[in-house]
Each structure stands twice: as C-alpha cells, then as structure tokens.
Symmetry: C2
Amino acid sequence: MKNRLRELREEKGLTQEELAKALGVTRQTIIAIEKGRYNPSLQLAFRMARFFNVRIEDIFIYEGENGEGR
Amino acid sequence: MKNRLRELREEKGLTQEELAKALGVTRQTIIAIEKGRYNPSLQLAFRMARFFNVRIEDIFIYEGENGEGR
DNA sequence: TAAGCATGTAAAGGAAGCTTTACGTAAAGG
DNA sequence: CCTTTACGTAAAGCTTCCTTTACATGCTTA
C-alpha cells in the first residue's frame, strides 16, 4: 500500500515532529509510515484523514492483494 | 469506533464464514470485528470497502478521540 | 433424538503497529 | 568551529490484530 503522507505533510509545511504531535503519535511512527515500513492502524488513518481534511482513500492507495501496480 | 459490518453482511445474505473467505481472513476475525472487540487493519478495511463497494468511512464510524459521541 | 448450520466464547501463539531511547547524518546559521 | 533543526536508523518491549484449535449454544429439520 502506497501513501501520500509526506506529500500532504509538506503541503502544510509541517515537520515530522509537528505532524506526530498533531496526530498523537511519535515521530518514529510518522517516519515508518512515510517510508512505507508499515501501515497505520485504522484509527490512526482516520485521524490523518480528519487532520488533512481528506478521505482515507486520498492518503492511502490500496493496490489490491498483489501489492503492486507496476 | 463503531462499524456496520454485520449490517452490510446481512444485506448481502452472507454468513460470517462466507464473508471471511471472501475477505481472506478467518471467521474469528469477522466475529471479533462485528462484536467490536477490535478494529481491522487498514488493509482489511480496504478489502471490506472494496468487497461491499462502499467507502471505508461508510463501514467504520470514527467518533473522535474520546470514543463517544454522547 | 440426532444431525447440521450459524453464531458465539476462550486461550495460546505469531505478526504488525507503536513507543521509548539512543545514536547518526546533513544542512543552515551564528 | 559549534549549535540547532530536520530527517534517518536500530533495537527492545508492549499492545493490537489475526490465526488456529476447541468447545458451547440455539435453531431447524429429519
């Protein structure tokens, strides 16, 4: 699953730390998700969507089971 | 976080087992989520949304941090 | 009664998400 | 040079998600 977290964050001119604080998580969590190391919980995805004022589907791009859209 | 999984499943006339199979999880997972014991991963939420042809936000109702909209 | 089906509970174990702490690197400014 | 700021890695530990196995309950139907 891909995501546009970094993109959205930078559009708002926020640092990872500021975003982390706004979402109630640590900076490590933001880094891991931006880097695609893992996906957020559904809860956190909702908080992100609400924060950026978009739909979950606008942040996270689910490509189907095979993982890839190459 | 509340969800309308059971409602959507029954609209389709599916058993928990059939839905589980369609989503690639076990029946226990369906039960746990329908009963609100835990939330699905973002991945699974996407598969559900795709399966029922709705948005994630139409299945899962996020009430904010405080858990409640009382 | 018995058998089958759908739903439920419980518990143990593994995988994924998140935190905490610590350290590394690069750029910008004094 | 030194300090600060932002980004990054790594590892240990806890919590949440999910699986596997087993058993229980209620309903239907033979």
